[in-house]
Symmetry: C2
Subunit: 253 residues, 2 copies
């Protein structure tokens, strides 16, 4: 099957048994992940992924509809892994249980709450801001994928594939909102969802600015008039999270 010049002929046979097919599917996702981390999501083509796995493009299309479906599946995986990490950092007692939404809020030392003032970023709000900033700052692939999802990935897959993806991403956002509410019980569920959604959108947009191409990076390095346009991702996200958490309760109508 191998026609790619990068692959020694005969390394791969056509996968016939179910477990072989799952293995092949994982290999495709793994190759796409590696290439996207190295070169950025935008530059990775279906042909690149097929060459990396060592199969022909037509063989790859037996597993995924399009390049975009591969990346949408990686995005779904990245959301699940992200929300598991949030559980571990903000709610160590219930990692990955997903039961927070119905449980009792557990941290009363909130820096944001019914009192209507946000404080100066200390306490639970500062912890939430820091954990969220790092949760995106430490996950370059998730951030890159978030920006590509509504622009490209969701626009070039079947309705069923986008539906599966949406249920996963909405589930992760809902679970993350429940984790925030557990830490900051003075916020409403809708406010926690607003916070998570805004942070995720900003993480996607700001990651692209924080990781310019070679020409723009050289320009930033050489031109003091432009250096201010670059962004340091985690500190910027931390500050924005602090502002949002401090503003949610006081701006209630």
């Amino acid at each position: 099957m191998s026609t790619s010049p990068e692959v020694s002929a005969g390394t791969y046979q056509r996968a016939r048994r179910p477990e072989q097919k799952l293995e092949r599917r994982d290999a495709i996702l793994g190759a796409a992940r590696e290439l996207a981390l190295r070169d950025g999501v935008r530059t990775v083509s279906l042909a690149d992924i097929a060459a990396r796995v060592g199969i022909h493009k037509s063989a790859l299309l037996r597993y995924f509809e399009t390049r975009e479906q591969i990346f949408l599946e990686l995005t779904a995986q990245a959301w699940r892994e992200w929300v598991t990490a949030l559980h571990a950092e903000l709610d160590p007692a219930a990692p990955g249980t997903g039961e927070l939404g119905t449980g009792e809020p557990g941290r009363a030392e909130s820096g944001v709450g019914g009192s209507g003032t946000g404080g100066s970023g200390t306490g639970a709000a500062a912890l939430v801001a820091d954990v969220f900033a790092r949760s995106f700052g430490d996950r370059p692939l998730l951030c890159d994928l978030i920006a590509h999802t509504p622009l490209n990935l969701e626009r070039n897959v079947s309705p069923e594939a986008v539906r599966r993806y949406k249920l996963t991403s909405l589930g992760a956002v809902g679970e993350a909102a429940a984790i925030v509410r557990h830490a900051l019980p003075g916020l409403t569920p809708a406010e926690c969802t607003e916070f998570v959604a805004a942070m995720a959108s900003l993480a996607g947009a700001l990651w692209q600015i924080a990781n310019p191409g070679p020409a723009l990076a050289a320009l930033y390095a050489s031109d003091p008039d432009l250096a201010g346009a670059c962004v340091d991702l985690a500190p910027r996200l931390r500050r924005t999270a602090e502002i949002l958490l401090a503003g949610l309760a006081p701006s209630r109508s």
Copy 2:
């Protein structure tokens, strides 16, 4: 020169005089603008633009380096038009003068300020939030372009083109921040810049979510589990602006 099947031969001659060249350049930008507004920035190719103008692709490349340079030039134009509109709405006395940064803050009835509380979204903060939300909500092309800029447009043009663009966009953000400070003198210049930058990034990201492709739009319409994932752009931006403005002063460290 016309080889496109969509153009009657002889409609266009090669532009030789400077004013003809400027006209041709404007026609290219106008065609790109119309197509992007109709179909979305991501789908418009260099060949589409050339066909719309009625010139061959090779003729178009005498005016612009790449498809991305055309859209980067449209983005620069859109930023300038946007900041002129902000002046008109928030500082009618000095539309487009760009002198606000050094002038005296003029509105003392601020809802956000040194007192450290944001109020409930009334007064000057509510006005700023509303004007910013509409400034993006009424400009679909600007929003679409903002998302594409760091992802694509800035990565496929010459260093000189990206430098010119950056100076324009940074100028617009700086001018907008000065307008915000004029309306809300209790905020620092850095806080006003933070507000403008966050709003612009969110406008780009949320516009993409608010304007899904046909398959996803149909899914939103048919599936109540997913309807919540869609976004109504201007109301969402207004609410986020209120939260940010209410949180900036209280979250100062």
